[in-house]
């Protein structure tokens, strides 16, 4: 997108992005593909709301509706929210800790391509006989009964993209542990880095249960195993446990980085260090820890018995305490500060009451005996959209505006940004606030249509109108992105003027090696400390020297492509064995070829040494700081 890139021609740029191991470019890859899936999931959401605008509507058919609701949830969680968070983690975390890249640049690329091919595979189901239709939770009895290949797409697609997520999580853990600049102790790390660290730890422990669950289902559906088949001695409740042991930490994997983004934004635009930094860090860790203790609150009505329900109810309520601590610390950070209402700050300010509303309904849901009424009703739909949109999506939109200059070197238009903000905020509350009442008035969730004369008509219509406001907001944002990149007005190191952390000490976008000399960190908010002492830049921690850089590689792409191909073979071999074999006889060879491509590229990677290259001191001296720009 930079002018330099345009000169190089489209194919060269494409090849560069296919092979890149640079965290900043991988961030852009995550942003673009996550943004694409966000639009896809958004269109699915609009179709859902149009269908539910009036009673007894036949805008979409019953089967299609279930596919839409399944793909909306799955896409938004796995293919939109997580990659968009990874976009900001990749773009910002190495800069915030003063590193030249992540610990494993090759793995970083592999993680992205696995996610990408998994997501594409999942969405190809729309064109290849029908999407999954058992909800994003894919409860076992229903998913095993589901005809066609929809659920197979779900299982294989998530398995592939889940591996990518796990790899990315491990990479960030290692990066944050090992790659911090001199003086960047744990308790000096910005909150976004801290929350990335905790979220990555959650990924490490939460994704394996999902992988196990998906493998069991894969074997049930594709190879005739009976893990979840009750008539053969299987048990469907096991799937519920496996899914939610993953699924509950998953929501913290999403929300914690959003908390981190907001912490940095609030502190930046209040011109004040984060109030109660140590408490904030502790609360983040505690939320992550407790997140693993509460999964059964999704199963209060499954029939686990009062003892289990009571224990999980109290454990769930306990999470409200560290979350409350965070809310008050944000408020007190603003208190006594000097607040500037930029677009990112508007999102942060709107996030606080929105998230409090989502949080309190969370506590209500934790109350097991009352949850028997809320469970699987629109009350739950309202609750999780309040935390996921009010928390995660507002965080992503805030992050988009806040970090855009650092990622692209241009500033999104503030006026358009504020228009987007107001449209989105009004639309969000309009859509979801009323759904609390719909649920309490007896409307179950995941229903294709509702019949008239049940008192549900008016509120559903209001909800649909709200959804159109959100859609409009997204269109304005897209327009903003386009005109900003066309105008291409370049900005300096610290375009917001209030930057406190290391990423604002280097050019926007940073040179491909990030820091010419690693900075010396002298406390929390290192750039702010230097600014207060009248300096504009960080003090270097090392003399100018050669920088070791990794080579670009096409292998991650090929490795992921192999799994993508193999997945088709694995899926259609069921038909090959079931029918007379004429149509799908290619499936087993395709499975084998795909696996060979992956294993072969792993072998190449293992056997062929790749030592990277060095940027020499002399080149760095020629390179002026103010030039910036990617390669």
């Amino acid at each position: 997108m930079s002018t330099v890139a345009e000169k190089r021609g489209f194919l060269a740029v494409l090849w560069d992005y296919l092979t890149t191991v640079d965290h900043k470019k991988i961030a852009i890859l995550y942003l673009v593909s996550g943004g694409f899936f966000f639009l896809v999931g958004g269109i699915e959401a609009m179709l859902i709301r149009i269908q539910l605008a009036i009673p007894d509507n036949d805008f979409v058919s019953a089967g299609l509706y279930n596919e839409l609701l399944t793909m909306h949830g799955t896409t938004m969680i796995f293919l939109a929210a997580m990659p968009l968070l990874f976009a900001f983690m990749n773009a910002v975390v190495p800069l915030q800790i003063g590193a030249r890249d992540v610990a494993f640049p090759f793995l970083n690329s592999l993680g992205f391509w696995l996610f990408f091919f998994g997501g594409i595979f999942l969405n190809l189901s729309w064109f290849l006989g029908g999407a999954p239709d058992a909800g994003w939770t894919s409860y076992a009895s229903l998913s095993l009964a589901s005809p066609g290949h929809g659920i197979d797409f779900y299982v294989l697609g998530l398995q592939i993209s889940g591996a990518g997520t796990l790899i990315a999580g491990i990479n960030f853990l290692v990066t944050i542990i090992n790659m911090r600049a001199p003086g960047m102790t744990y308790m000096r790390m910005p909150l976004f880095t801290w929350s990335t660290f905790v979220a990555s730890a959650l990924i490490l422990f939460a994704f394996p249960p999902l992988t196990v669950g998906l493998f069991l289902m894969l074997f049930d559906r594709m190879f005739g195993a009976n893990f979840f088949d009750v008539t053969m001695g299987g048990n469907t409740i096991i799937w519920e446990h496996l899914f939610w042991i993953f699924g509950h930490p998953e929501v913290y994997i999403l929300i914690l980085p959003a908390f981190g983004i907001f912490s940095d934004i609030i502190s930046t635009f209040s011109k004040k260090r984060l109030f109660g930094y140590a408490a904030m860090v502790f609360a983040t860790v505690l939320i992550g820890f407790l997140g693993f203790m509460v999964w059964a609150h999704h199963m209060f009505t499954t029939g686990l018995g009062p003892t289990a329900n009571a224990i999980f109810a109290v454990a769930t309520m306990a999470i409200a305490v560290p979350t409350g601590v965070k809310i008050f610390n944000w408020l007190l950070t603003m208190w006594g500060g000097s607040i500037r209402f930029t677009t990112p700050m508007l999102y942060a300010v709107a996030f606080i009451p929105s998230f409090v509303a989502g949080g309190v309904t969370g506590v209500m849901l934790a109350s097991a005996a009352a949850d028997y009424q809320y469970h699987d009703s629109y009350f739950v739909v309202a609750h999780f959209h309040y935390v996921i949109i009010g928390g995660v999506v507002l965080g992503l939109l805030a992050g988009t505006h806040f970090y855009w200059p650092k990622m692209f070197g241009t500033m999104l238009n503030e006026t358009l940004g504020k228009i987007t903000f107001w449209l989105f905020l009004i639309g969000f509350h309009g859509t979801f606030f009323i759904q609390h009442f719909l649920g309490l008035m007896g409307m179950p969730r995941r229903i294709w249509k509702f019949l008239p004369n049940q008192g549900l008509d008016l509120f559903n219509m209001i909800s649909t109108v709200g959804a159109f406001f959100m859609a409009l907001a997204v269109i304005v944002l897209l327009y903003n992105v386009v005109i900003t990149q066309i105008k291409n007005v370049r900005v300096g190191n610290d375009p917001w003027g209030d930057g406190r952390t290391l990423e604002w000490a280097i050019p926007s976008p940073p040179p491909y090696y990030n820091f010419k000399q690693l900075p010396l960190v002298r406390g929390l908010d290192p750039l702010w400390i230097e600014k207060m002492e009248g300096r504009k830049e960080m003090t270097p921690a090392e003399p100018l020297g050669d920088i070791h850089m990794p080579n670009n590689s096409f292998i991650p792409f090929v490795m992921s492509l192999g799994l993508f191909i193999a997945a088709f073979g694995a899926m259609y071999q069921v038909d090959w064995r079931a029918s007379d074999g004429a149509d799908y006889v290619w499936s087993i060879p395709v499975l084998i070829i795909g696996m060979l491509i992956t294993i072969g590229s792993m072998a190449v990677r293992s056997l062929k040494d790749d030592h990277g290259y060095h940027i020499h001191k002399e080149e760095l001296m020629d390179d002026h700081d103010d030039k910036g720009g990617r390669e």
């Binding site: 409860y139 011109k271 004040k272 009062p306 000097s338 009451p353 009352a370 009424q373 008035m441 007896g442």
Partner: protein, 376 residues
């Protein structure tokens, strides 16, 4: 509504500090929804207790929101840079131990206030011992109903009375009714919002819970509550409704007796059309899936039992029969012709003119409407 309000008040008194909030909440929310469907107009002991717990949590949460809102509004109005000027450098406060202790301890106390009644009610609702209570002769005292969820329809059996019905659950008011619930095919969830929370009908195991249908409240809802499937179960999940007819214990005994009697009595057709209809019912093979014998064992037929089909409030759980016999007949014909459209994915499918002539359909409808055991 008034009694619920009073109960809410009484419950609120124990937590005197929430009283005004609590009362206001209960009053506002109880206006929401329809009395036959809304959890906010509880029509039974279970729903009432759950409603009270809801109101307690709402009150606590509103309290929290008010505190946050006050700090929030002051912070974002008082500390704007446009007022303070660009040169103002705020004091870089590290934190405050005292404040942090306050906003850790107070939420813990608030949560305890909610946690204690939550745990108590969870155990109370989880206690199914009343199901086993026996009188001197060794007969079970409480009414037990077996519920079987099938793809888009519900089967209800009264094991102690030896009676089965479907789609319209018939229950006596003002006593605990115990339910054993299970699913035949995929997981569903059994929910009568106005009367109490839901319980999943698993495929793996039988779940047990109880509800209590309040006589007075039931009258407000015309003795007919809506029941829902609350767990995604396939294309027609949204249409897997059932209805609950409530009646006094006396009437209920009469209903049971009538059902039992209908099993023993000989087929007796009112007129020739009805007799023709029965012939169609047999020829078309309807009887293969739909028993008209209330003693049929639960779970043994592929479709709903039709013993008292002519008395059901809704056809197939979704087409309202209340208006008149004409509407009722139309509903039945509409269902037989278009079952696959009205409930996509159901196993009956539609019967077009080739499958079933208009004449036969009329006769069949007449026969189906004559399937009455209790009302005349």
């Amino acid at each position: 509504m008034k009694e619920g309000f009073n109960k809410a008040m009484k419950n609120g008194l124990k937590k005197w500090r929430f009283l005004p909030l609590f009362a206001a909440m209960a009053f506002i929310l109880s206006g929401c929804g329809e009395p036959f469907l809304s959890t906010l107009q509880p029509a039974g002991e279970v729903a009432q207790k759950q409603f009270n717990l809801m109101m307690l949590s709402v009150a606590i949460m509103v309290l929290v929101i008010i505190v946050v809102a006050i700090v929030y509004v002051i912070a974002i109005t008082k500390f704007r840079r446009s007022k303070l000027g660009d040169d103002f450098i705020p004091k870089q406060v590290e934190g405050s131990h005292r404040l942090e202790v306050i906003w850790t301890v107070i939420p813990i106390i608030l949560l305890l206030i909610l946690a204690v009644p939550t745990v108590a009610l969870t155990f109370e609702l989880g206690d199914q011992s009343g199901m086993e209570a026996e009188d001197e002769e060794g007969n079970r005292e409480a009414l037990v109903i077996d519920v079987r969820a099938n793809l888009y329809w519900w089967e209800f059996a009264y094991p102690d009375q030896g009676v089965v019905t479907a789609q319209d659950l018939v229950v006596p008011t003002d006593q605990n009714v115990y339910f054993n619930v299970i699913a035949s095919d995929v997981k569903h969830s059994f929910w009568i919002p106005a009367v109490g929370g839901k319980i999943d009908t698993n495929v793996d195991n039988m779940n047990t819970f109880y509800l209590n249908f309040d006589g007075e409240k039931a009258e407000e809802a015309n003795n007919l509550f809506y029941g829902k499937c609350a767990e995604l179960c396939g294309p027609s999940h949204a249409l897997m409704d059932f209805k609950v007819q409530t009646m006094s214990q006396e009437d209920f005994d009469g209903w049971i007796a009538a059902m039992q009697e209908s099993a023993e009595s000989e087929q007796d057709f009112e007129n020739d059309t009805v007799a023709d209809g029965f012939a169609v019912f047999e020829e078309q093979g309807c009887i293969g899936c739909h028993a008209v014998d209330p003693t049929q064992q639960i779970g043994s037929s592929a479709g709903p039992n039709l013993t008292n089909f002519g008395e059901r409030s809704y056809t197939a759980g979704i087409l309202d029969n209340e208006d008149s016999d004409e509407v009722h007949a139309e509903n039945i014909q509409n269902w037989i012709r278009n079952a696959d459209v009205l409930k996509p994915g159901n196993t009956m499918g539609g019967y077009n003119e080739d499958d079933l002539s208009d004449e036969d359909l009329d006769a069949l409808t007449e026969y189906l409407m004559s399937l009455k055991v209790y009302s005349e």
